[in-house]
Symmetry: C2
C-alpha cells in the first residue's frame, strides 16, 4: 500500500475538475491484487490508472465514490493477523488525509451507500474487478472485450470516460514531476544497457542491466522490455539470443514512477561500430524522428506528424535506391509501410499507451476513426495537439519477412519495380532500427523529456561496452 | 510461447501416470495472458502449474483434454497480423511434437469435442480462465474463493486433484533438473546481493542486484522478493529503507526456471560484521535449521521437524536467558511462537508453496488438519516425507511488535515471568533473522539443492560489500 508522494490537494483538484466536467454520482474501481499461481503469491499490485489519477495511492480493493460534490473511499479493514505479516498499515483516517477524500469507509457499507444511485463508471480491466463491478452496478459488458476498450458504453458512462480523457490528456505539474522522474529512470537504464553490451553475451544480460536500474530506484517496468537483435519483429519479447559483432541491438524499455510511464527506444551496434549500411538507415530514422519531434506543437494534427515521418523515411529510402519514385506519391500508395508498418506514436501518461483501456476514445479526436490502410491502421493516435499533452515519437525501419514476403502487401511494389530488392539486400545487416522519445507539447518548443538519452549514431556507439562507466556490470 | 526444454517423452510419461491414477476424461486449463493496465500491455505469461507439469510449455489460452487414453490440446490459431509483431510462431504440428500430445486442434472445436463428457477438472486460479472454465463445464465455484484453494470439489474433481498431488509431490528427473537450475539462479542472486550490500544504499539496490542475476539467466522471480532491514515484518515487500551499519539485511528471494521454483533466505550484516547479540541469535537459528534439515528423511512426519526446530530455537532462547523453563514444556505451551510464529516450511516444486491452489490438500496428509494454535496454524505442511519430495526448511527468530505487544499472545508469558523482557531488550539490534534452504528427501542423506549459498555467520559476513567479486555492482 503506497501513499501518494504529493500533497492531497493534487487529488482534490483533479476530482473537483472531474466533477466540473461530469455530473455525479460516479464510481471508480481501484482493482484487486492478482494471484500469480495461488492466492498468497500475488503479482505486484498496481491500481487502475483512472483510480491512481484521482486518488494517487495503490490501495488494494478500494472503490472511489463521488456524489453531491463529495468523495469517499470504501476499503476492506485490515485483518487481525495482518500486522505480523505486513507491518502496521495506515488507518482509514490517515488514508483520508493523504488522499484528501472526505471519508474512508469499510467496504461492507458500499452496497447500502450506493442504493438508488444512478452511477457513472468505466469498465475495469481486471476481470475479477469487472465482475464485482458488474454485480454491484447491475450492468454487464462483454467478457470477450476485457481490456480491449471496445465495450460499448451507455451515455452516462461515456460522459465520464470523456471527462477522464479531457483531464488526463493534459498533464498537470504533479503528473509532469513523475513523468520526468520516469524519464530519468529510463536514462539510467538505457545507459546501463549500452555499457553492458558486448559480443557473446545474451540479450537477457543487457535486459538485466537495464531493469536493475529501474528496480534500484523503486520503479517498475512500464511494459515488457524489448531487448533484441531481431528488431524486425516489432514486439519481440524473447531475450535468449547471443549478441554478435555486426548485430544491432534494439532496446525498447521504459521505467514507471509511481504509476507514470516512460517509453524509450534506442538501437545500438553490439560491436560499438555501425556498418556503413547500418549507419545509413540509422541516420534516416533519426532525421525522421527529429523532423517529427519538431512538429509536436499546439494545433498540429498528430496524423500529419505521422505523415511527415513517412515522407522523410521514404525520401531516405529513395536516396538509397531501395524505393523508386516521388516520396509523397509513394507515401500515398503506402510504400513506406513495407519498412515502417506501425504508427509514429501514441499518448503517454499513467499508461504507456495512455487510456487505451478506453479504446480509441482517447487517441482519436471526436468523429475521427482509424484508417484500414496497412500502416495507418496501427496509428494509435490522431488528435489535434494541445499544450500539456505528451506523446511518443518513434519512427523505425524494419526488414520484416512477415511483410516483405507477403505477396499481398509487397506484390504491387515488386510488380512495378518501385521496390528494388537487389538494393535492399545490400542492407541485410539492418534488421530493425527504432528511435523513440517522449515529447511534451508546450506553448513553445517541444519538450523532450527523454532528451538526455544519447541518440546520435556516434554518441550511442561510444557508450557501448564502456564497462568502466557501468553501474551494473556484465555477466557472461 | 516457450517450448519445453526437455523431450516430449517427459510429458507423455506424466500424462500416462495421471491416466493410471484417475479415470478420464479430464480437462486442464493453461490460463490466459493478463492485461497490466490495458489489453495490449500484458503481464508476463506463466501457464497454470498443473498445465505446465503435464504439457511443459507456456501456451496462452490452451486447454488440455485427456479421454480414452489420448491427449489433445485446444488452442487459438495465430491471427494473420501476428508474425509482424511477434515473429513466426510454431504451428500446431510442431507443438504436438514438442509436447507429445496426439493432436493440437483449434479452440473453436472445443465445445463440440466436449459434448456429453463428464470431465474432471481443478478450478483455475485466474478469474478470467475460471469463468471460461465454469461456462464451458457448466459448474461454478465461489468467486470469493479464487485462488484460496477452498473451493469445494465434487468427487471426480477431488480424485483428479489427489492424483495431481500424488504425482507432483514426488519429483521426477526432469523436474529436478529445473529445480537445480533454479537453485543455481538463487545462488548467483544471493551472492550478488551480498556483494552489493553497503551502508547508505537502499534496500532496492540490493534487490536490483539479486533480480538482475535472475533476469540475465532468463529466469523469473518465483515470488515477490523480500529484501529488508525490517525482517521482523514477515512478508515485508517495501524496499525503500536505507541500509545502516548495525542493521541485519534479511533477503528471501528465489529464482524460477521454466516455471520451477527455488526459495532461499539468508540474513547478513550490512557492515560485514555481526554484533555479539546478532551472532548469538544467528547461531541459534542456524542450529535449528541444520537439525531440521537432518530430519528430512523418508518416513518422517513433517510436523515433527517443525517441533524439533521449535525445541532447538527454544533451547537457544533459554540459554540466552530470554525464556525461562524446560524447552519441551515451553514448546508445548507455544512460548517459541513469540519469536518464531510461522511454520518450518512447505512443499516446493512448480509453485513456491507447491500446489497451494488446492488448499491444504497437498500440504496435509489424509485426515490431518491444521491446528488452530498460534504458531502451528501457519504450518503449511504436515505429511509423511517420501523420497523425491522437496521441502523448504526455514526457521527464524523475530522481534515482531505485532506479537510481543499483543497482550493476548504475550501476556501469559509475561505474567509467569517465562519471558524476560529485560534480557530480550539487550537483543534489540536483532529484528529478524531467517535461514532457508530447499531440501530434497532421498533414500539417503537429505539433498540440499541450495547448499552452495553461504550460510555460516563468518561466511556470509565475508561476502558483504565484496564489490570486486560482484557481477552486478552497486548504485547509490
Amino acid at each position: 500500500m503506497d501513499f501518494p508522494a504529493e500533497d492531497a490537494s493534487v487529488f482534490v483538484r483533479r476530482r473537483t475538475r472531474l466533477g466540473d466536467l461530469v455530473p455525479d454520482p460516479v464510481i471508480v474501481f481501484g482493482g484487486r491484487p492478482r494471484p500469480r499461481n495461488y492466492a498468497a503469491n500475488t503479482l505486484p499490485f498496481r491500481a487502475d490508472s483512472h483510480f491512481l489519477y484521482l486518488v494517487g495511492a495503490n490501495l488494494p480493493d478500494a472503490v472511489l465514490v463521488g456524489r453531491e460534490g463529495s468523495w469517499e473511499l470504501f476499503m476492506s479493514p485490515t485483518p487481525p493477523d495482518d500486522a505480523m505479516w505486513h507491518g502496521v498499515r495506515p488507518g482509514f483516517d490517515a488514508i483520508a488525509r493523504s488522499t484528501g477524500v472526505s471519508r474512508v469507509r469499510p467496504s461492507d457499507e458500499l452496497r447500502a451507500a450506493l442504493a438508488g444511485l444512478d452511477l457513472a463508471t468505466v469498465p475495469a480491466i481486471d476481470p475479477s474487478t469487472r465482475s464485482f463491478q458488474a454485480s454491484l452496478l447491475g450492468r454487464t459488458w462483454g467478457a470477450e472485450d476485457e481490456g480491449s476498450g471496445s465495450a460499448p458504453l451507455g451515455s452516462r458512462d461515456a460522459s465520464l470516460a470523456d471527462a477522464l480523457v479531457a483531464l488526463r490528456s493534459v498533464h498537470d505539474d504533479a503528473a509532469l514531476t513523475h513523468l520526468r522522474r520516469a524519464a530519468e529512470g529510463s536514462l539510467a537504464g538505457h545507459l546501463a544497457g549500452m555499457h553492458s553490451t558486448g559480443s557473446g553475451l545474451r540479450e537477457s544480460t543487457v535486459r538485466a542491466a537495464i531493469e536493475a536500474e529501474f528496480v534500484a530506484r523503486g520503479m517498475d517496468c512500464a511494459y515488457g522490455s524489448i531487448v533484441t537483435v531481431h528488431g524486425e519483429i516489432l514486439h519481440n519479447h524473447a531475450h535468449h539470443h547471443i549478441l554478435e559483432d555486426g548485430d544491432l541491438l534494439l532496446v525498447d524499455a521504459g521505467a514507471e514512477d509511481a504509476g507514470w510511464a516512460s517509453d524509450v527506444t534506442r538501437t545500438w551496434p553490439v560491436s560499438g561500430r555501425f556498418s556503413p549500411t547500418q549507419r545509413e538507415f540509422y541516420e534516416i530514422v533519426l532525421r525522421a524522428q527529429l523532423a517529427s519531434i519538431d512538429m509536436v506543437r499546439p494545433g498540429v494534427r498528430y496524423r500529419d506528424i505521422h505523415r511527415r515521418a513517412c515522407v522523410v523515411l521514404t525520401e531516405g529510402l529513395v536516396d538509397t535506391g531501395i524505393l523508386r519514385g516521388d516520396p509523397e506519391s509513394l507515401v500515398d500508395r503506402g510504400a513506406h509501410a513495407l519498412l515502417f508498418p506501425h504508427g509514429i506514436g501514441h499518448l503517454i501518461g499513467l499508461d504507456v499507451h495512455d487510456m487505451e483501456d478506453l479504446g480509441d476514445r482517447a487517441g482519436y479526436g471526436p468523429g475521427w476513426q482509424r484508417s484500414q490502410q496497412f500502416g495507418l491502421k496501427y496509428l494509435r493516435l490522431d488528435r489535434v495537439l494541445a499544450p500539456g499533452t505528451m506523446v511518443t515519437i518513434e519512427p523505425g525501419l524494419y526488414q520484416a519477412p512477415a511483410i516483405l514476403d507477403n505477396a499481398e502487401l509487397a506484390g504491387p511494389f515488386d510488380r512495378d519495380r518501385t521496390l528494388d530488392r537487389t538494393r535492399l539486400a545490400m542492407f541485410r545487416d539492418v534488421r530493425g532500427i527504432r528511435i523513440e522519445d517522449d515529447v511534451l507539447c508546450t506553448e513553445g518548443a517541444p519538450d523532450v523529456l527523454t532528451a538526455a538519452i544519447p541518440k546520435g549514431a556516434d554518441e550511442v556507439a561510444a557508450m557501448v561496452g564502456d564497462a568502466g562507466a557501468a553501474g551494473y556490470g556484465r555477466t557472461r
